[in-house]
Symmetry: C2
């Protein structure tokens, strides 16, 4: 008998009608002869409501009691689904983090999973019971409630699939799968049937918010096939899995963009060892994440260093960088929040030369000035003026042939 882990996001359990729809979907999987473990997020909006309450009361992430408050949302949705399943005549049992147990470290608000007990859930499955696990939460070694951070329910699901040696982990969400690019920006966007873990990681961290990055890392590490699909349709979804021969023949799998970045350039920095470290230390201390970093070769003992941060951190980062720049004798600091990052992603890049130059040519042909470039094995990112974002996405999507296959059923514009 196959073990399937199904995870449903907040919009899939937003109200009682939807909880009952989820129950119907679980019932179908049971009827098909599977053992089913369900992981639930809180009802849509509930976690935000709890976070606001906790903040208004004076708390912030990292405090033990903050996790006590925000973890309650998943407890409610888990209980409701169990009641709905029992209403259909099925056997079901909820498991909170401490009841599984999902043992984590003590980093409240962003705890990492250390160990998962399987006996209680296996006993339930053996008895024909649907095991419903509250996502996002765990318990540390002294019995305190912890949470895994935003999107943590995805991680709960994939980690459970790993320890239970599940045959499949299904992630139900409000989109139909992973698309070649944002369908809202490009009507030719097409749903992918398959994507490799590495590609998905690049997609996730570059702004295609379908799966939490950490959950994909987990899936890759334990080779768990993850099927991303919609809880509102019967569409096939996208399978996130190991790279296979098919994938290598596809050069570019997707185009992503991120308008939520800003660029800071430190001009004519005396090029001495330790300068970069000196520049980024204050940002790290202020909790600001730096995304891309570009440093050109030095001329006359001076260099230019440019990096990007999120728009929300821009003002603070600029202020801190100006201060450091003065200390280290840089000539100037220039900030620009009107930028976007557009990336092409594909496992096939590893074996296909010339993809980068094709990208640069295409952008140049449209008069797009590339301000920064950064590459990895399966990704090329270009920073440009934000006004070119849509144009760049469409041109790249078309030129790399992403809209071509399975037009019709699979096209977002249907």
């Amino acid at each position: 008998m196959a073990i399937i882990v199904q995870k449903y996001g907040g919009t899939s359990v937003a109200d009682i009608e939807r909880v009952k729809n989820v129950a119907a979907r679980v019932a179908r999987a049971i009827k098909a002869g599977n053992s089913v473990v369900v992981v639930l997020s809180a009802m849509a909006g509930e976690t935000n409501r709890l976070i606001k309450l906790a903040k208004d009361a004076g708390g912030e992430p990292g405090m033990r009691e903050y996790d006590v408050v925000v973890s309650s949302g998943e407890q409610v949705s888990a209980g409701l689904l169990a009641l709905a399943l029992k209403g259909r005549g099925l056997k079901a049992k909820t498991f909170l983090g401490f009841q599984v147990p999902i043992v984590t470290g003590s980093n409240y608000g962003a705890a990492r999973i250390k160990d998962i007990g399987t006996k209680n859930i296996k006993d339930a499955l053996a008895g024909g019971v649907v095991a419903i696990v509250a996502g996002f939460q765990g318990v540390n070694e002294t019995g305190e409630i912890t949470t895994l951070g935003r999107g943590g329910s995805d991680t709960t699901a994939v980690a459970l699939a790993a320890v239970l040696e599940a045959d499949l982990c299904e992630i139900y969400t409000d989109v139909e799968g992973v698309f070649t690019t944002d369908p809202g920006m490009c009507s030719e966007a097409r749903k992918l049937k398959k994507i490799s873990y590495d590609e998905m990681l690049e997609m996730a961290s570059l702004g295609a918010r379908v799966l939490q990055t950490r959950s994909v890392e987990f899936a890759r590490k334990f080779s768990i096939p993850v099927l991303v699909r919609s809880s509102f349709t019967d569409s096939d979804g996208t399978l996130v899995c190991k790279e296979d021969k098919d994938m290598e023949s596809v050069v570019v799998s997707g185009i992503t963009y991120n308008k939520d970045e800003a660029k800071i350039s430190v001009v004519r920095v005396p090029d001495r060892p330790g300068i970069a470290a000196r520049l980024f230390r204050p940002l790290t201390e202020a909790g600001i994440n730096v995304d891309m970093i570009v440093q050109n070769i030095s001329r006359d003992g001076f260099t230019d260093l440019t990096f990007t941060v999120s728009n929300t951190a821009f003002d603070k980062a600029l202020e801190l960088t100006r201060k450091t720049a003065e200390d280290i004798g840089a000539e100037d600091v220039i900030g620009d929040s009107g930028i976007a990052k557009v990336s092409i992603i594909g496992a096939g890049m590893k074996s296909h030369a010339g993809i980068a130059s094709k990208m640069f040519d295409l952008l140049a042909g449209e008069g797009v000035n590339i301000e920064m470039i950064s590459t990895s094995e399966i990704k090329i990112s270009c920073v440009m003026d934000v006004k070119y974002t849509e144009l760049a996405v469409r041109v790249l999507h078309d030129a790399f042939g992403l809209g071509k296959e399975d037009v019709g059923e699979e096209t977002a514009a249907k």
Copy 2:
């Protein structure tokens, strides 16, 4: 150092401002040199919201998952108070049912406390930490979440006070204490400074909804002094404690009434053994609680039997009783939902003769026809036409001198 258990009801933690007011009150008790354990209800309205969700999902009390859902409200309010206390620079730690632990039986929705661990809370108090306990919830011996039933947080508080050998248990609510009668009905109603456990039990079960009956029984059993007071004022409140000399000199402590009852009379029942049992069995089986029962001596081998039920159960009770009456050969069944029960309560009745006849005289003097009478050691209840309720309460309140003492500060009409 004195140990104080403070319990705050739902209206006292209805929003963040009120949670912060509770934190200020707890801070004062700490500053005065006490060790403080706080028991919280869910934010006002929250338990009803959760119950509605659970019912809509197909659940009902008695189901394991129902308790998982409804217990989450106290988890949230407990966490919020801890955050608010930390915001004031105090040390605080929440304890959910399983973390105390408060061990209960497995009667989900109405579980009874079997045992309470004291080590974790005592450790917290010894470290100068305010222990905040989620009320209403426990954990059974196999680690499942249970709830104690409506008003269960009062029981949590009194039970904790008992096992911790606390010096005082304070119940903060939205009224200023226990009144001689309903201030909304009688402007002369006066707040009592003290009331005995037995009197409080009669008050509570007769409709003065201040303290849950079970919590008073607990307090009496372990001789825990319970101070009922408002979380919105600095008024003294009412101390519920062992009977003392002062109390015995007061003949009547309070007047209660209940308009939510209906009367059913079975006329000319053949007076044979087992008839009463036969009459009430169908009601018990239908889950209908019978309150007062009056049976007069039999004449000519026939008797009349009258009893009261709640208004909501009236139609069903009448239907069932008509059926049984026919079977046992009674002449008629007469129902009347337009009645009220008015009671006088006082520990002093035990040592004062003539209280009942004074009550009957007073009512007769006002032209009130008494339809049923029932008495206990410290209570006399009369059933009358509902239209006389206000008149009866005011006349009795005045005649037994309940409005006399401490007029001014203590009078509700201030």
